[in-house]
């Protein structure tokens, strides 16, 4: 540089720098204009168009106006831009040609020549016109001539280089206009000059940069050149552009370093590789650090110097640009980068020097930012600065470790020497911070001065960093710094302070499942707990570590040994137990019951085999393993009865425990999957479904509070349950990995036993699994001896041999030799003894244990079955054949359709089959050996047949029909049917009309038998019959015993026909056929067929003159509504009781439909006079009932309810009279006494001709 050669005005690198504009010519004139000019120039922005496609900018121009001197003009090769005059202005107010010619022109020429000599083309001539002056000098030329002259003389083709400023000091619009024009011109020219000169400068600079591969190229030189450009931009307040220059320099340098690292070394870079001797950190408080700048200029700067200077400039510009947070961010990058670059360039750095430099720099940057921002801004931008805080903390920590300030004893002499060296490298404090109490320099010096001071500073920084991290939610970072702090405290032998940080960090790692950090932190925590003497916690942590696969085998063994050592210590307090959670020690994998359904009777032996997976690296001898069992009695709960348990609780007896997911407790969000199971509860009696539903088995997992899951590490009160019931296994050595442990217990009290806790004791250390999940239970039951007798088939059938199953549940009773069941024989039920019947003996779990022949001895009264010997809680099963004899049949009345003595319908049967079977109960009393009381067992037998009988008439001939209906599911063979008259009247003959003697009767089918009644004399009024038929199951082979025939007794009364009723319908006279809607005549002929008989002797019979007559009532009813009976439909007639007495009745009826219509019914009733004794018995309703029954018996189609109703209404008219007065009564004639000879006949009715309506009813 040429600084030494020419005395230049010292460039002051401050914000006050402005582009230089020189002023020549009339200095007084300029001085008068200057205030306005300097004020007006920056007022309006001007667009600056840039070269190289850079975006145009609006720029406010300011200038530093200096008097023109030749020395100001730069010489060739001078790269200084700050001192570069961008524009030269010549001021004149000459308005006199003479004056112009005399002085001004010469002066101008001289000025121009000087400019030309320096090839400066940026100039301007300003002619100030003053009206006042003009007036005074009248002889002046018109002003244009002077301007023209000047333009002519100097502004060759550049007429714009000459401007006129009119009356600059006046306040007129003309003045204003003139000023505006001038200022615009001035700004334009200034910008033109900038563009041109800066462009040229940039070109030169680029040329210089392109030479960078040439030997001898100096980065420092280039640096100065480009910085000059930056200065100019800064001067023009184009901080962005200025920053770009520094960033380019930064990048260029970085690239060189990288290339150097890659082996492409530049010579000049070796200057920067000098050993680091000074590490006084960044200096950001001055806009320009001249000291550093000069060292760069002198090419004496170290890498740190260059970086520091570069950054301080960048920082200044960024702060101008109001981007303090970028400063923080860049600072961190810079510091990291510098450390890397020094490493890359293999610059020798004394240990700790960089730490000092980084520490000082961090604090300097932070203080610089704090200096230009208010508190609120800083607080809301912690995220940007916290990195620097953290970095500073880290560096101070490593300095502390380096200088022996962290050790318990304090620094030794070597440490002190090192400290002194480090402090020496800091040099003296800079003057600008000398007065600041908290300057980075002072802080570092103080921190390194003593152990206490270091601790204070380090804790301050750490706490501030943690607080900042926490406040912006960077919890993990905060925990990480906390861990450093914990390490520091551990070094300082203050484990009580370290613990909280370690616990906090560990909790964080556990919550997020980071295995390695967990292991590492736990190891630190273990040490801390050991120092603190927290035995329980230490042992717990040790057990976790001993099972941690991220540790080496040796480390795991060490921690395991720690536990074993403690456990083997003779405890001063023998009852004292250290309770630790089990899961880190060993895990319960599965559990196996024997018997597999986990049900055992009282006194039985239950084995529980568990698989424990030991997590310990070495075999561990366990004194005892104990399972605490909770015992509960659930009385009145069917599920806990022996029957239910032995039948229903079937499982494979293996329970698998879900593996502990402790090391990776995934997230709180991922809950376990729902474990849903169907649930059916069946009724105990008939196994029908009572309730059903879905059960979620892991509700407790899903619904538990979220917070609790985060406290994974804490033992959280593992309470030892002290139960009366324990399963114990002593002296077990748990090998690493799976171990089988078997518990054996003898069941004592009946109830449910739930496995609650699993404890393993090693000396005074107890590992406890507080809850066993899924729930493991076993049941113990006791059982009373019981006898069950049940039919083998659905129902027992009477009359044929049937199998009955006997089940003896021994329960707690042991069947001894000679024990037998004593059955008291029922009269009508035989127990068929078969020689080869055998009994099976099962255990309660249905395993067959033996079978034995059954000895059955029968006497008159008692059948004795001797039971085989069987132990307690076994089941004996055998089958016996029984035969129910048909009980002595009682008389069946005519109205009694069912021929059994004790008929009762079982409600249940009614639902199963439409026709229900008649059943008989046989009660058997059984004496059991275990009880003094007899057991009474009722067996219900069903009669497979239902028999009905009917009397059929054909005029006076009579037939008895017997219908046998098979209600059972079996087919039978019927044989030898007999019908006998029990009264043995000789003149009565029953002639069978049945042809076959053997006849099959299939299930749900009927067989009919018919006999004709024949008599010679007057028949008896009633007939007692007994029907009997032999039967045997059709399918079965020959039975060993002969079976009794099936009998049915019944009585037939009044079977002799007394009256014949004949009805006829005649078309109206003159017609061939009946027509619908036309009246036809109905003739009813009632004929007495016999003389007076015994049966006629009743109240209705009246005697007069040896002639007997009886009163009959007839009634014409049309159930099917085919006919309309016109007029009286009923009437009372007096019928002589003599053969062939005939009564004729005429009636009018009208057919309602066309077609073959059945005749209306004609019914006959006995018309009885009132009798007080009877009137109370028979009311109208019962009479109607009788009536309907009698109608049924005719074998006509069943009357539907509507017809029944209509009939009822007919009679209700008559019966209403019954109520008040003593009225005659009606009695239906027994079915056998009336023969309707016209029943079944039909009359053809043709539709009437005018009846066009055809009614079709579809039902």
């Amino acid at each position: 540089m040429d600084a030494s050669e020419e005395p230049l005005p010292p460039v002051i690198y401050t914000m006050e720098n402005k582009p230089i504009v020189t002023c020549a010519g009339d200095q007084n004139l300029f001085t008068s204009v200057y205030p306005t000019l300097s004020q007006q120039l920056p007022r309006e922005p001007m667009e600056w168009r840039r070269s190289y496609g850079r975006a145009p900018k609006m720029i406010h121009l300011e200038s530093n106006f200096v008097q023109f001197k030749e020395e100001l003009l730069p010489k060739e090769g001078n790269k200084a831009l700050l001192t570069f005059p961008f524009l030269h202005i010549y001021w004149t107010e000459c308005c006199d040609t003479e004056v112009y010619k005399a002085t001004v022109k010469d002066d101008l020429t001289k000025w121009q020549n000087v400019l030309k000599a320096h090839s400066s083309v940026d100039w301007l001539i300003v002619i100030v016109e003053n009206d006042a002056k003009k007036k005074n000098k009248t002889n002046i030329l018109p002003r244009t001539s002077i301007v023209d002259k000047i333009r002519n003389d100097f502004c060759n083709k550049q007429s714009d280089r000459c401007v006129v400023l009119s009356d600059p000091l006046k306040d007129s619009s003309r003045t204003q206009e003139s000023w505006n024009a001038f200022l615009t011109k001035l700004r334009t020219l200034l910008l033109m000059s900038f563009t041109k000169n800066l462009g040229k400068f940039e070109d030169d600079m680029r040329t210089l940069r392109e030479k960078r591969t040439e030997p001898g190229w100096s980065f420092c030189e280039y640096f100065m050149v480009q910085e000059e450009l930056a200065f100019v931009f800064e001067m023009l307040q184009q901080f962005e552009d200025a920053l770009v220059q520094y960033d380019e320099l930064d990048a260029l340098f970085s690239q060189y370093v990288v290339n150097f690292g890659a082996g492409d070394g530049a010579n000049w870079l070796t200057f920067f590789c000098q050993p680091v001797k000074s590490w006084n950190g960044l200096i950001l408080r001055k806009p320009i650090d001249m000291e550093k700048r000069e060292s760069i200029q002198r090419r004496e700067a170290t890498l740190l110097d260059l970086r520091s200077y570069l950054f301080s400039r960048q920082c200044t510009l960024l702060l101008f640009l109001q981007r303090p947070w970028e400063v923080a961010q860049r600072a961190l990058e810079l510091l990291h980068n510098c450390v890397q670059e020094l490493k890359l360039l293999e610059v020798s750095v004394p240990p700790g020097a960089l730490d000092c430099w980084v520490f000082l720099s961090c604090l300097e940057v932070l203080q610089r930012i704090e200096g230009c921002c208010d508190r609120a801004q800083i607080d809301s931008n912690i995220a940007h600065t916290v990195g620097l805080w953290s970095y500073a903390t880290e560096k101070l920590k490593s300095l502390g470790y380096l200088c022996g300030l962290v050790s318990e004893k304090g620094p030794n002499s070597e440490d002190l020497n090192r400290t002194v060296d480090l402090l020496a490298g800091l040099g003296a404090e800079r003057p600008e911070t000398a007065n600041t109490a908290q300057s980075p320099y002072k802080k570092l010096k103080e921190a390194l001065s003593s152990v206490e001071a270091f601790e204070k500073h380090y804790l301050d920084l750490s706490h501030a960093t943690i607080e900042m991290y926490t406040s912006i939610g960077r919890i993990r970072s905060a925990k990480f710094v906390g861990k450093d702090l914990a390490e520091f405290y551990m070094r300082k032998k203050a484990p009580q302070k370290a613990e909280i940080y370690l616990q906090g960090a560990l909790k964080n790692y556990l919550a997020e499942g980071w295995a390695l950090p967990i292991t590492h932190t736990r190891k630190q925590l273990a040490e801390c707990q050991k120092h603190l003497g927290q035995i329980e916690n230490y042992l717990q942590t040790s057990s976790l570590l001993a099972s941690d696969h991220h540790l080496t085998e040796e480390e795991r063994k060490h921690f395991c040994q720690e536990i074993l050592d403690f456990a083997s210590q003779p405890s001063d307090n023998p009852g004292h137990k250290i309770v630790l959670p089990m899961q880190s020690f060993a895990q319960l994998r599965d559990l196996h019951f024997d018997p597999s359904n986990a049900v055992v009777h009282v006194g039985g032996v239950l084995c529980i085999e568990i698989t424990m997976y030991s997590q310990m690296p070495v075999p561990v001898h366990v004194e005892q393993i104990v399972v605490n069992v909770h015992f509960s009695i659930e009385k009145n709960n069917y599920r806990k009865t022996a029957e239910w348990l032995t039948k229903h609780k079937t499982s494979n007896g293996i329970i698998n425990f879900p593996p502990e997911t402790a090391p990776f407790p995934v997230s709180q969000n991922s809950l376990p999957a729902l474990e849903l199971y169907e649930m059916f509860e069946r009724s105990p009696s008939d196994n029908s479904l009572n309730t059903t539903g879905i059960i979620c088995r892991n509700v407790h997992m899903l619904l538990r509070r979220q917070e609790s899951s985060s406290s994974l590490e804490m033992p959280s009160g593992v309470a030892l349950e002290e139960g009366a019931h324990v399963l114990r296994c002593s002296h077990v050595t748990l090998e690493p990995g799976a171990n089988q442990i078997t518990f054996r217990t003898q069941a004592k009290e009946p109830g449910t036993y739930t496995l609650r806790q699993l404890c393993a004791s090693v000396g005074s250390v107890w590992f406890v699994l507080p809850h066993i999940y899924p729930i493991v239970q076993y049941d113990v039951y006791s059982q009373e001896p019981q006898l069950h007798v049940e039919p083998l088939a659905d129902s027992l059938l009477a009359g044929i041999p049937q199998k009955v199953k006997f089940t003896v549940t021994t329960g707690h009773y042991t069947i001894k030799n000679g024990d037998s069941l004593q059955l008291s024989n029922a009269e009508a039920m035989l127990i068929l003894c078969q020689a080869e019947s055998r009994a099976m003996v099962y255990s309660n779990t249905r395993e067959q244990s033996s079978d034995a022949a059954l000895r059955i001895q029968s006497s008159d009264k008692v059948t004795s079955i001797s039971l085989p010997v069987a132990p307690a809680y076994h089941v004996i099963e055998f089958e016996l054949e029984v035969l129910s004899l048909p009980s002595a049949p009682a008389l069946g009345g005519e109205s009694d359709m069912l021929g059994m003595a004790e008929p009762h319908r079982k409600h249940k049967d009614k639902q199963k089959t439409g026709h229900c079977m008649v059943t008989t109960d046989h009660k058997v009393s059984i004496d059991c050996p275990w009880s003094i009381y007899s057991t009474v067992i009722a067996l219900t037998f069903s009669v497979p047949f239902r028999t009905t009988h009917a009397l059929l008439s054909s005029g006076t001939r009579k037939y008895v029909q017997v219908c046998v209906q098979n209600l059972s599911e079996l087919d039978f063979q019927l044989s030898d049917s007999y019908l006998v008259d029990t009264s043995d009247s000789t003149d009565l003959q029953l002639v069978p009309l049945n042809t076959q003697s053997q006849q099959p009767i299939y299930s749900k089918q009927s067989v009919f038998f018919v006999w004709e009644l024949k008599w010679t004399e007057e028949p008896p009024p009633s007939l007692h019959c007994r029907f009997s038929v032999g039967f045997s199951p059709a399918s079965e082979e020959q039975l060993s015993i002969s079976l009794k025939p099936y009998t049915y007794e019944f009585k037939v009364e009044n079977f002799f026909t007394l009256y014949n009723v004949k009805a006829e319908i005649f078309p109206p006279s003159g017609m061939e056929y009946c027509r619908t809607g036309s009246l036809c005549s109905l003739e009813v002929l009632i004929t007495r067929l016999s003389d007076l008989l015994e049966v006629d002797k009743d109240e209705a019979l009246t005697e007069s003159d040896e002639h007997f007559s009886t009163k009959l009532m007839y009634e014409v009813v049309d159930n099917s509504s085919n006919w309309a009976v016109c007029g009286k439909s009923c009437g009372v007639i007096s019928m002589p009781v003599a053969a062939r007495a005939t009564h004729r009745v005429h009636m009018e009826v009208m057919p309602l439909f066309a077609g073959y219509l059945p005749l209306p019914d004609v019914r006959l009733f006995k018309y009885l006079p009132h009798h007080s004794a009877h009137s109370s018995q028979l009311d109208a309703d019962s009479w109607i009932e009788n009536d309907s029954l009698s109608v049924d018996k005719h074998g006509d189609d069943q009357p539907d309810s509507s017809s029944l109703k209509s009939r009822g209404s007919v009679h209700s008219a008559c019966s209403s009279e019954h109520k008040g007065l003593p009225m005659p009564r009606l009695q239906a004639l027994p079915a056998g006494q009336v023969f309707n000879s016209s029943s079944g006949t039909q009359v053809l009715v043709i539709p009437s001709q005018d009846d066009h309506v055809l009614e079709v009813s579809v039902t």
């Binding site: 690292g261 990291h336 995220a383 939610g473 960077r474 993990r476 990480f480 997020e512 295995a515 390695l516």
Partner: protein
């Protein structure tokens, strides 16, 4: 290239984390874990942006003196974190991006494995590592093995010869 690669589940537990050299594993675990702070911050700041405009690459998370930590988040909020040696100046933003894209592809492949349950730790030692190699790596056939009876399957790509990865 990268010294540590981590795939981190939505819930911030590591699905896969491998580093080299292995002796410094712990340091990288801590580093990656701590970097999640910044990942969370960036994700929550990004949450406002529209889904389709969202940039998966999170950029530099966590510069340290020796390492640079970069982040990437998938749409399902699975995070990829890559630690790169600071001295490795060859790795610019573009390289990092392309490495993340490769990692994402590899992760997608792992997810496509029918034997892999999403959310499980990725067992394979090498499944995701090829992404960090600078040049295409020849890989042998993929074989699925069960590490223990009843245990999860893991797919292992065996290298035909020599070390699989050049760092």
């Amino acid at each position: 290239m990268a010294v540590c690669i981590a795939v981190i589940a939505k819930e911030n537990y590591p699905l896969y984390i491998r580093s080299t050299p292995t002796e410094n594993e712990l340091k990288f675990h801590y580093m990656v874990h701590t970097s999640l702070d910044v990942v969370d911050e960036k994700i929550s700041a990004m949450g406002k942006a529209l889904v389709d405009q969202r940039e998966l690459y999170l950029g530099l998370l966590y510069p340290t003196e020796d390492y640079k930590v970069y982040g990437y988040v998938t749409n399902s909020k699975v995070k990829f974190v890559m630690v790169v040696d600071s001295s490795n100046t060859a790795l610019r933003d573009n390289e990092i991006r392309s490495m993340f894209r490769k990692l994402h592809n590899s992760y997608t492949d792992v997810m496509c494995n029918p034997f892999y349950n999403p959310g499980d730790r990725i067992q394979s030692r090498w499944a995701l590592l090829p992404v960090s190699a600078s040049s295409p790596v020849q890989v042998g056939p993929t074989s699925c093995v069960r590490s223990s009876p009843g245990g999860p399957y893991s797919c292992v790509r065996s290298s035909p010869a020599g070390p699989l990865i050049t760092w």
